[in-house]
Structures are given as structure tokens and as C-alpha cells.
Symmetry: C2
Subunit: 169 residues, 2 copies
């Protein structure tokens, strides 16, 4: 065998082995990335119970964290909205705080522009303001809600949010 052929052949074997190793590495790291990014949201709590069609459009799940009582006089829970899901219009006698822990969605107070929400957003909805909240069309939303001073009322459910309202400004 000529020297040139030998050198080329050795290089070929070496490069082939390195490449095989690199390919394995790609497969491993790609699998790890996929595992991390395919979850719709990073769930903190169990999914909970599906919200009734009477009060929600699409699939929304409620998981209670602090029940109403006379000690803390508030209600705390988590809602997971699947993409496109939203609450009906409603009011709270003492207002409501929303804390978005993952995903993307909207909040709208009647007569005001739709507010875009994402991980870390905090919403303060004043007492008796008519509002709705839900996920964006393409991405789920996970939110904590706090209803303070429950002695002033918890929730007053109203009509569904139409597609026109949901897709509007």
C-alpha cells in the first residue's frame, strides 16, 4: 500500500470514529432538550378539577390551595388554562389578584384593552370590576388567583367571552 493511501485511510478511520461519538452526543443532548421543552407549562401543582362549561370556554382546571374560612378570609388556588381556554366574564366583591407562573394568556376588564400576560405577570383587578382571563390561542397558561376579603363575596359569574371578544383588542 502506498504511503498516501495509508495516511488517508488512517485519517478516514479516525474521523469516522470521532464523528460517531459526536452523533451519540447530539442524540443525548437533543433528547434532554426535548424533555425540557415539550411540557406545555412547568406545573407546580396537580392539574385539579375541570372547570364547568357553565363558567368556562375550553378546558380549564382548578386546584384549590387555601379554602375560604374566617381566619385568613381569602381564597387561593391555581388554574391551568389549556390553549384557547378562558373564564366567563365575572366580578369579585373585593377584587382579585392573579399571578402568572408559566405560559401565556390574557386579562381584560370590560371597556379596557386586553392585557397580555406571561410568566411573572401580576394582575390587580379592582372590586366589582367585570373581567375575564384565560390562555392565549397557542400556549397554555398557569395562574395563581387570590380573592381577598371573602366576606365581601367570592365570585359573581356572568356570560361567556365570545370568540370575537377573545380575539379582539
Amino acid at each position: 500500500m502506498k504511503k498516501t493511501t495509508l495516511v488517508l485511510l488512517s485519517s478516514l478511520v479516525f474521523l469516522f470514529l470521532s464523528c460517531k461519538e459526536a452523533k451519540k452526543e447530539v442524540e443525548k443532548t437533543t433528547a434532554m432538550v426535548e424533555e425540557t421543552t415539550t411540557q406545555e407549562v412547568d406545573a407546580i401543582f396537580p392539574k385539579g378539577q375541570k372547570g364547568p362549561a357553565q363558567f368556562f370556554t375550553g378546558d380549564a382546571y382548578n386546584y384549590g390551595l387555601v379554602p375560604m374560612d374566617s381566619t385568613y378570609t381569602m381564597l387561593v388556588g391555581n388554574v391551568y388554562f389549556e390553549p384557547g381556554a378562558r373564564s366567563n366574564w365575572h366580578t369579585h366583591g373585593a377584587g382579585q389578584i392573579l399571578i402568572i407562573t408559566d405560559g401565556e394568556g390574557f386579562h381584560q376588564i370590560e371597556g379596557q384593552p386586553k392585557e397580555f400576560l406571561k410568566k411573572g405577570s401580576v394582575v390587580k383587578c379592582p372590586p366589582n370590576a367585570k373581567h375575564w382571563h384565560g390562555a392565549s390561542p397557542g400556549k397554555a397558561m398557569q395562574q395563581l388567583y387570590i380573592v381577598p376579603n371573602t366576606e365581601k363575596g367570592v365570585v359573581n359569574w356572568m356570560e361567556a367571552v365570545t370568540d370575537e371578544q377573545y380575539n379582539g383588542n
Copy 2:
């Protein structure tokens, strides 16, 4: 050039180019994985301001979410405790709710066993109960706090939690 040499040379060039592409892919996916896994906790909010040594042992950071006012009469915020960091003993006039959103830590009411906390844990500390909370020795903790009915007082700071208390049961 001989045919064998030509074939080997072409294979070498082809393999070299494929390998270069694979290496780029490894670097890209490795960077993505590292970005996801090097954070101590999955932060929802900015880190915030460091809690004063007067009230905290170790490094704890507070980020306010809902300020005290006469509308919602509550205080909501996020605390990020670095490993080993904890609050002093303290009380709240109307109690406190803690919601753990990531990491690991402890909560203890005076005279009761230390309670282990992790992502998804919810703590209800009654009005005027003396307590402390903080991260585990090896892992940070991220928690939301809710102080209801702030008209009854916000916080009454007391002495530091000793290492013996922190490491005890």
C-alpha cells in the same frame, strides 16, 4: 491520482464536513441544556432586594408583587432563599400563607416539628404564631408569601434562628 486515493480523499472531505456540522449541533444543544439546568431554581420573578442581616441569616431576596393598600388589604411578594438562608423568628397579626414554587426548605412554628417544604407545598401559619422559614442547607427555595388583612399588622420581627434550631427537628 490513483482511483483509490481519489475515493479515500472524497470520503475524507465528506466525513470532515458532516463531522463539523455535528460538532456545531452538539455545541448548540449543550448550551441549551446548560441554560436550563444551571439555575438553582426556576425563577418566575426578578431576584429582588437582599433582605437585611437584621432579619435574615444568609442571603434571602425579596421581590414585592402587591403592595399594602386599603383596596386589597394584603401584601404579596416572592422570596428567594439561597441554600442555608432563613428568616428570623417572627409573627404576623393576621397570619401568613406561603406557596413554594421551586426548591426545598423548611417552615417551623415554635413548639412544633420542623416542616419540610418543596415545590407545590402550601403553608398556613395562624395569626400571631411565632415561626421561621427558609431554604434547606443544600438547595435554594423560592416562595410566594401572602399576608392577609394587613390592618391587623404586617410583621413583628424577633431573634435569629440559631444553627441548632435550623438543624434540629
